[in-house]
Amino acid sequence: MKCKKAKILISAALDGEISRKETLALGRHVSLCADCAREKVELADLRVSMSSWADESPSEWLAQSFACKLADLTEEKRAVEPKPRWRFGVFGPAAAGLAMAALLIVMVFHNRASLPTPTESPKRGPVIVAPDHPKKTGGQIVQVESAGGGRGRIQASDHHGPRHIALAPKNPPFVQPVPPPSTGPGAGAIADEIPVSGVAPSAAADEVKFNLGEAGIAMNESMEKLRGALQEAVDLVVSKPPMPAVEPIGGNTP
């Protein structure tokens, strides 16, 4: 072992930081080398000298000062911490859309439940019984019965739904009938077939009920359409964004 390495090991041995093998090798070297033996003694004396510099105590205010700063830091952390709140993240728009759809559904069912239901018959709105006289003057004529017992005839046009529904009650009092607006050539025939008799208050109520039922059906249909549109919108929001448009290589659009 060379003295340069031995002196480093002497320093480490002073701190107990060498292996047993190194200790044995060092011992052999030191026993043979006076310079390294002197080095070992001088390092031990140095350690004694260094221990003369005893530890000192810091000022008494240090602990108090730190306690104040720690309290300030704790308060600062509390003030900075954000309040927990609901975060929807990516699903925020979808959740909003679903919430709207759910609200609309609730409204629809509420409206349907609040509509006055006809008491005399479970049927709601007009029921198409059978085609009566297929006089083809402009459209098919069908006989219609309402939940209130009144009957009427509807000219079902090819393109639109029934334009007017006027019902004749079973025992009608005198009421000035309202001729239906009609443009077809068979309008006059239809007007003749409607019994010209008055409409009693009960019949009027039936008519109101019938119209309300019809309105409810129309509302329901429109709500269904709206719900469908909303669902499509929600699906569009939730789905992945479209790929960015890629410019054609040629640069010129065809």
Binding site: A12, W53, L62, L70
Partner: protein, 200 residues
């Protein structure tokens, strides 16, 4: 208070740190009480200025408070982490103060004399002489340690005055254990030569 202090004394440094991470500020005060003196002496021996050493102690602990969440007691010792942070604080301070004019010997002497312990009761000449000799040796030692390069100074102080093992010193100074052996060896060589020159 004494009961709480007694209970805290049974807890390890890592347990106290875990309590602090859980939100118990009193645990950090307990850690401060345990380590303010050794940390103060580390900084004092590094920078040789009392007020600066106290400021560095506060800054180190405040840094522990801010970054306490990064400490994991399962993987590391608290003392190693503490001295790592302290070493970084000291290095930053020394680099910052190096840009300013160096402290003159007179200023150093003034700081030193302000901190002198009280004179012992004089019963004959020997206590006074002994005291003066110790003071003189301390002054020489302080000057010799201050003359060491920063890394050698830190290594020899952590070894001689804080009893850290080579592997802990290596972790604190962020260097290999072999480098720590060489740093301490060189520091001792320089100190021995410097003390011989001062004695002469």
């Amino acid at each position: 208070m004494k009961q709480i202090a007694a209970n805290s004394a049974r807890q390890t440094d890592e347990e106290l740190m875990a309590r602090f991470q859980a939100g118990d500020a009193a645990a950090m005060e307990e850690l401060f009480a345990r380590f303010q003196k050794p940390l103060f002496n580390f900084f004092y021996r590094m920078v040789c200025r009392r007020e600066t050493a106290e400021d560095l102690v506060q800054e180190t602990f405040l840094k522990l408070c801010r970054f306490g969440h990064t400490f994991c007691g399962d993987n590391a010792k608290f003392t190693t982490w503490l001295y790592s942070v302290a070493g970084n604080q000291c290095r930053d301070h020394l680099r910052h103060s190096a840009r300013r004019p160096e402290t003159t010997a007179a200023e150093l002497e003034q700081d030193y004399t302000d901190d002198q312990p009280e004179m012992p009761n004089v019963v004959g000449d020997s206590p006074v002489e002994e005291h003066l000799m110790r003071m003189e040796l301390r002054e020489e030692l302080q000057t010799a340690i201050k003359s060491l390069p920063e890394k050698e100074r830190a290594a020899i102080i952590l070894r001689e005055y804080h009893g850290l093992e080579y592997k802990d010193i290596a972790e604190t100074l962020q260097c290999p254990i072999g480098s720590v052996k060489v740093l301490i060896f060189r520091a001792r060589q320089r100190l021995r030569e410097r003390l011989k020159d001062l004695a002469a």
